[in-house]
Amino acid sequence: ALGKGRLTEDVLESLEEKLLAADIGIETAQAILEGVRKRARGGDVTPDQLLEWLAEEAKGLLPELPPASTLARHGSKPYVILFVGVNGAGKTTSVAKIAHRLVAEGNKVLLAACDTFRAGAIAQLETWAERAGVEIVRHQDGSDAAAVAFDAYAAAKARGHDVLLIDTAGRLHTKDNLMEELRKLVRVLRKHDPALPHETLLVIDGNTGQNALPQFRGFGSVTDLTGLIITKLDGTAKGGALLTLSREFGAPVRWIGVGEGLDDLIPFDREAFARGLFS
């Protein structure tokens, strides 16, 4: 559609494709288009107006949250944040980025290397700890992840850390034994304090399509998810599955990963994200 015109079936179809291309999914796409149709009320619209409305409808589906940096201004010390998610989503890198931010805000941060399974996982987090200038608690490769978490909390308490960040192994939500391992880690942590962890952040790869929903459901059934990190949005994927996550679960997205360096994490911004879907 080039100039001003009616909202024809053709125009709606090309709008729908724009929505689908952003991984918004067919159902949410149709809900958004219904919203746009209502706004048009059968009148003439310009392409700019349409994009404006699309962004507004999308934004309307996204949660209004208190700013993410209220993270560490919490009563508890140490404030404990658990990072979970499927394999390769960007958990370890995100732990490093959050650590970096917290240090810049004046916090004393401790990392817990609870991916005791994957080749080079502990070495990877150790490198990040060094780069971010934070301490790390780790055991041997192949040791018990829950035990590392338990020890890390004790260390954080003893050494007066403000925040403890727990990195866990990637796991598919369909693997019952691995989800049980995660439950066990949480149970063991709670031996110290039933309020732990104070936060659980689900890390989702921004390239993910509709599998984002089963991931959220799966991890959500193991532990209360207090926030989401959507990574790799510096690529061409738009992360539109987030709209359906918001629409269905009120998914509280907090951070966006936009690169592989310590600084490449930005607080989630509804307006910017909604606009970015259609750029």
């Binding site: 494709e17 394999n87 390769g88 080749a119 390239n207 994927a237």
Partner: protein, 292 residues
């Protein structure tokens, strides 16, 4: 299930034991929803549906099956054809050392797949592989590959942090010297829009001329699979695709989109984190998975 949904369409519309333009169009609307939910690219869905419609309208419904079952059979057969028809494993032929270049987005499973291929080459093909560590960016990437090599008893060539192109060249030379007949080059994950890193990959390719170039893609990738694959293919002309994390519940529609837009075959699927979790890609199994 899709068959049930389609049977309902035929039940709702009249003339339920005959395939008509109306009930085919209505059925294909359901199919479109199912395929989009399975992460097939919307353009691929469009083309696929058009092809199926043509076949469905020309089809005769057998008395023994419901029209819904008939359409599903056409859908399945058409999808199997689009996915390559049958499994076709690479032969790794050519004068040794045969090179295998791994490429793809960050976190897609390249390093793990490199280890899996090393195991496959040694155990199934009785070859002597060498792993080459060309990822000098990701913290402890070289360590990760070395650990996998040690687990397998497969040698790993690395130069620590250095120039990936030089590491690749030297790795190839090391293979010759060590009598390894296959070389697997693990590379850093990269965005297809990162021109510097794409040029680096092109330079590695030009330097070691690998006869196999595998695009490693995550089965949960959404619509962007097409743009990513197309760019990697336009620039690197990959020879095959490895679809990882197929042990999850992602429907894997990206497989259809990538095959359809690049024409390149999916060779293997990753079915777990362990090094033995690599299987040959089966178009019929994938078709059933995508159709749901």
């Amino acid at each position: 299930q899709l068959t049930d949904k389609l049977d309902n369409v035929f039940r709702r519309l009249r003339g339920q034991h005959q395939i008509t333009e109306e009930n085919v169009s209505e059925s294909l609307r359901e199919v479109r929803v199912a395929l989009l939910a399975a992460d097939v690219h919307f353009q691929t869905v469009k083309e696929f549906i058009a092809a199926v419609k043509a076949k469905a309208l020309g089809a005769e419904v057998l008395a023994s099956v419901s029209p819904g079952q008939m359409i599903v059979k056409i859908l399945h057969d058409e999808m199997v054809t689009l996915l390559g028809g049958q499994s076709e494993e690479p032969r790794f032929a050519g004068s040794p050392p045969v090179g295998i270049l791994m490429m793809g987005l960050q976190g897609s499973g390249k390093t793990t797949a490199s280890g899996k291929l090393a195991m496959l080459l040694r155990d199934k093909w009785h070859r002597k592989p060498l792993l080459v560590a060309c990822d000098v960016y990701r913290p402890a990437a070289i360590e990760q590959l070395k650990v996998l090599g040690a687990q397998l008893g497969v040698p790993v060539y690395d130069e620590g942090l250095g120039d990936p192109v030089r590491i690749a060249k030297n790795g190839l030379q090391a293979a010759r010297e060590q009598g390894c007949d296959t070389v697997i080059f693990d590379t850093a994950g990269r965005l297809q829009i990162d021109d510097d890193l794409m040029i680096e990959l092109e330079k590695i390719q030009a330097a070691v001329k690998p006869s196999e170039r595998f695009f490693v893609a995550d089965a949960m990738t959404g619509q962007e699979a097409v743009n990513v694959a197309k760019t990697f293919n336009d620039r690197l002309d990959f020879t095959g695709v490895i679809l990882t994390k197929m042990d999850g519940d992602a429907r894997g529609g990206a497989a259809l989109s990538v095959k359809s837009v690049t024409g390149k075959p999916v060779r293997y699927v990753g079915t777990g984190e362990k090094l033995d979790a690599l299987e040959l890609f089966h178009p019929d199994r994938m078709a059933s998975r995508i159709l749901g």
